[in-house]
């Protein structure tokens, strides 16, 4: 006899022209951690929006039963009253408010219409203890890191007396340490009897924490696996997600490595907020033509700061050090200089820093080197169209035409547009910051193939990634970074996850003040 807290039966949800969900079934047992897996666009988020009332009753077909009672939610408030709380991928905190204010946002502790600050902060303290966050409740949310903000979200959920907690990609923006803490916290909640549904791309986490996993593919529920009973491996989940055996997650690649293309020496960067804080300290690295080099490091290690400061001083102050291109020292004072010297940087946050989401594919691809398509300041529209169409074909950007707006594309296709934009600048050195973040397995494979093709074309590629298997599968050589220092360099055949992790957590002795 199973005790299901939630049963969703034959859920079908259609948008104009698209069937997002079709006859999806999901049953979650009381007190378990239930994972939902699927490629981007498989319908995971849509299913959760149906469950939480974002899509109200009547806008979908099928039945939802929570605790044996049929549910007809008209909105989020209805579902929250029943104890169903969803934490979205993009955190919904007000950065300028304090932790306590955020926890009780919309649910204020008040007396006669006035907020009772003592009760607010005291109860916030208790909730923060429960989620293991040793911060003062009056601290402003913008002053704490993403990992801690995630914990504030969970504290907020707990304040609503949550019975079913839904987490959409909770660890996507977290480093390994914070992720581990979060997973521990979820185990603790399970022990308290709170049921969790977790949506994640990180299969190793699912394998570590979930009791059962339901796999969605193309808007249908494919299967539910019992992690204990069935012999479930990551590869088993992947084959369910993609509907085929993905023997190799990384395309095979035989590198042909040439001369050194790019080198930095003694690169030091200070934080723009605290000018005396060293963010990158005496870093040096090099990439050769045709080589794919990885840069591993935990969040806060200074990888993005290193890349952005090299890329036309887009980050940091008091920057010192030397940059060499093809053996010659170059001065890079602006992004234009960097592009002029054949350096490209694809950001880790493509929506905020990479794309103009209200513009079409064509204009995004041409944005970084529009001058190439122009004569005396006038753009040749038709040539721009031809170039963009070429990229749409070569990169397999799935959109009806290059006039489609980039904001409507899936993550994988957006990333292909970003890569197209930088390839169009004819850069010889490509720095790719988290090139597959938030992208589904199938599209990741395509991105890897594109990176391999770039290397084969003689480009020097520097890949920054938080996913060690990705670096191991893709790179010819891997640097590690920790606390602003380059702490190690390993060729592919010597690198293992364990060795990399050790180097990534080494605090160097070079800087005794830290």
């Amino acid at each position: 006899m199973t005790d299901d807290i939630l049963r969703m039966r034959e859920i079908t949800k259609t948008f104009p022209g698209v069937r997002a969900l079709q006859d999806v079934n999901l049953s979650v047992r009381r007190g378990e951690i239930h994972a939902i897996c699927g490629e981007n666009g498989a319908g995971k988020s849509t299913l959760m929006k149906v469950l939480s009332g974002v899509y109200p009753h009547g806008s979908y077909e099928g039945e939802i039963a929570f605790d044996g009672q049929e549910c007809r939610f008209a909105g989020i408030r209805d579902s929250e009253q029943r104890g169903i709380v969803i934490i979205h991928q993009e955190l919904a905190l007000c950065p300028q408010l304090s932790i306590a204010e955020n926890i009780f946002l919309g649910n204020e502790r008040s007396r006669r219409g006035l907020i009772d600050w003592n009760r607010t902060n005291h109860q916030a303290r208790t909730l923060l203890d429960r989620v293991g966050l040793p911060e003062n409740p009056v601290t402003t949310v913008s002053d704490i890191g993403v990992g801690k903000q995630q914990l504030v979200e969970i504290a907020k959920a707990l304040s609503k007396e949550v019975r079913l907690l839904i987490l959409d990609e909770p660890t996507a923006a977290l480093n390994d340490e914070d992720s581990a803490h979060l997973l521990d916290l979820l185990r603790g909640l399970r022990a308290e009897g709170i049921t969790c549904v977790i949506i994640s791309h990180k299969l190793n986490e699912i394998a570590a924490i979930a009791d059962r996993v339901t796999i969605l593919r193309d808007g249908r529920s494919i299967e539910t696996l019992d992690m204990g009973a069935d012999d479930v491996t990551e590869d088993r989940i992947i084959s369910g997600m993609v509907g085929r055996d993905l023997e190799h997650r990384y395309p095979p690649h035989e590198p042909s490595i040439g001369e050194e293309a790019f080198r930095i020496e003694d690169w030091t960067v200070h934080s723009p907020v605290q000018r005396d804080r060293v963010v990158v300290s005496g870093a040096g690295l090099s990439v050769r033509h045709g080589e794919i080099v990885g840069l591993a490091g935990l969040m806060g290690a200074g990888r993005t700061e290193l890349a952005m400061s090299v890329f036309g001083r887009s980050y940091g102050v008091d920057i010192s050090g030397r940059v060499y291109r093809d053996g010659r020292q170059v001065e890079i004072k602006s992004v234009r200089d960097a592009i002029g010297h054949g350096i490209a940087y694809a950001t880790e946050d493509r929506k905020r820093y990479g794309l103009n989401l209200i513009e079409d594919i064509k204009r995004n691809i041409s944005a970084a080197d529009l001058g190439r398509l122009a004569r005396r300041g006038w753009v040749d529209d038709n040539e721009e169209y031809r170039v963009a169409e070429g990229f749409r074909h070569d990169m397999n950007i799935k959109a009806p035409s290059v006039l489609s707006v980039t904001g409507k594309l899936s993550g994988g296709n957006q990333q292909k547009v970003v890569l197209s934009k930088w390839i169009f600048t004819d850069a010889d050195v490509l720095i790719l910051d988290e090139p597959t973040r938030g992208i589904d397995v199938g599209a990741k494979y395509e991105i890897y193939s594109i990176i391999n093709r770039l290397a084969d074309a003689g480009k020097a590629v520097l890949v920054i990634s938080s996913e060690l298997p990705e670096l191991l599968g893709l790179c010819d050589r891997i640097y590690t970074m920790s606390a602003g220092h380059i702490t190690g360099e390993l060729p592919r055949h010597e690198a293992t996850q364990e060795r990399l992790m050790t180097l990534m957590t080494t605090l160097t002795s070079k800087d005794p003040t830290r």
Binding site: P16, S334, Y345, R363, A367, K398, P400, S401
Partner: protein, 416 residues
């Protein structure tokens, strides 16, 4: 939301309904982008409405001429304003800049007797310097445009009063008044148009040339696009659009030719609209304005010199405000201390009615002009039927709100 069907047929006119396209609706078998064409349909409806309400007086030759001349300075301002709004900024100072540049022009021409072309040039330079002053604080010092131009609104009004010594200065030389109020000469005399009576041949020829030029350039654009296998309107739709545009232009030109030929401000305005449409659509500089408004961070990381672009669009606004200032002063034949009051609000309203987005990144020069004309027609039409000014203000307020509400609604519909 999930899957986007790939099509390998780029020439298909309008693909199957998909989540990646703009909101389109079908009218008489013609697929329309409602967000883009809604404004033109609204304009047509408003013109029809007031033509009926005024029993045809709205479209009488003299009245068409009045609408153009009376709104010319707002339309010129709205061209500069739309660029600023596309970049995600705002300019509240243009009314005061109109006043101060009008005053400068008056002092130069009337008090110092500087020849009018030199004085006009100096006034435009002064407008540019004012724009540079504001552009500096906004682009390089990083103060929000709202604050800088709010300060500018006070500063330049104060400067106007100082320059004018609190009184009007005039009259202006004849050529300046002609630019504001005057009409082209009847170089080739009149020609009979049957029941319509006599009309100026030169004006008609200009109209025919404009229509011919427009049709030719549209045709060449279409041919070139076809050469690149791009999606274009089917031929009947294309022809319908050209014929409609040609009919509208020729109607206005014929009416003007029957009255007193082409107003010089219309000629100036037409050149400005053409130049700035080209700038926004085709020039690298114009494209960078959209990129900045669409996503500032991405623009910075794409190597666009954001500060320079922002600086120059404010310089441009200053120059256009100076031009509007001279035209406005020339029309009243006097530079007055209260000139240009609330012009900034009209220009901003024109831009937003014309489809600009509050967040920036979206907008068209022709849209802003249409927005300005919508308000102009409402003003004119309501005064023809004798509505009191408070009712005119009420209607304009409702129209502004409705236009932006429609835009937001259409955007939300497209996002579904």
């Amino acid at each position: 939301m999930s899957s986007i069907s790939p099509t390998d047929v780029p020439t298909a006119p309008a693909g199957p309904p998909n989540s990646a396209g703009p909101a389109r609706t079908t009218v008489f078998g013609i697929s329309l982008n409602i967000r883009q064409s809604g404004i033109y349909i609204a304009f047509a409806l408003i013109v029809v409405l007031f033509t009926i309400l005024t029993e045809g007086a709205l479209l009488q030759p003299q009245n068409i001429s009045n609408i153009i001349v009376q709104n010319s300075y707002i339309l010129i301002l709205s061209i500069g304003m739309i660029l600023i709004i596309i970049a995600g900024h705002i300019d509240l100072s243009v009314g005061s800049v109109v006043a101060v540049t009008g005053a400068i022009a008056a002092v130069l021409m009337v008090d110092y007797g500087v020849p009018w072309p030199v004085a006009l040039l100096l006034t435009l330079v002064a407008g540019g310097l004012i724009g540079a002053w504001q552009g500096f604080w906004i682009a390089y010092f990083g103060i929000p445009a709202f604050i800088v131009t709010l300060a500018g609104m006070l500063l330049f009004r104060a400067l106007t009063l100082t320059v004018l010594g609190n009184q009007g200065i005039g009259p202006f030389p004849d050529p300046v008044r002609t630019l504001s109020n005057g009409f082209t000469d009847g170089f080739f005399g009149n020609i009979g148009l049957g029941a319509l009576g006599g009309a100026d041949l030169f004006s008609l020829l200009v109209g025919v040339l404009v229509v011919g030029g427009m049709a030719l350039s549209q045709w060449r654009t279409r041919t070139a696009r076809l050469g690149y296998h791009q999606a274009v309107d089917p031929l009947p739709v294309f022809l319908l659009k050209i014929v409609t545009a040609a009919a509208v232009i020729m109607f206005v030109v014929v009416q003007l030719a029957r009255f007193r030929n082409l107003p010089w401000v219309l000629v100036l305005l037409a050149l400005l609209v053409l130049a700035y449409s080209l700038l926004t659509n085709r020039a690298v500089f114009g494209r960078q304005i959209y990129a900045i408004g669409g996503n500032l961070q991405a623009a910075v990381l794409s190597g666009i010199k954001v500060k320079q672009v922002v600086f120059w669009i404010f310089v441009n606004m200053g120059v256009l405000a100076a031009l509007a200032g001279v035209i406005f002063a020339g029309r009243l034949n006097q530079a007055g201390p209260t000139a240009g009051n609330t012009f900034e609000l009209d220009a901003i309203a024109a831009a937003f009615i014309g489809g600009a987005a509050v967040q920036g990144g979206v907008g068209k020069v022709v849209g802003a002009i249409t927005g300005g004309l919508i308000m102009g027609v409402i003003n004119n039409g309501m005064s023809l039927i004798g509505s009191p000014s408070e009712r005119v203000m009420l209607v304009k307020g409702v129209v502004l709100l409705a236009a932006v509400a429609f835009d937001v609604w259409a955007k939300r519909r497209a996002a579904r």
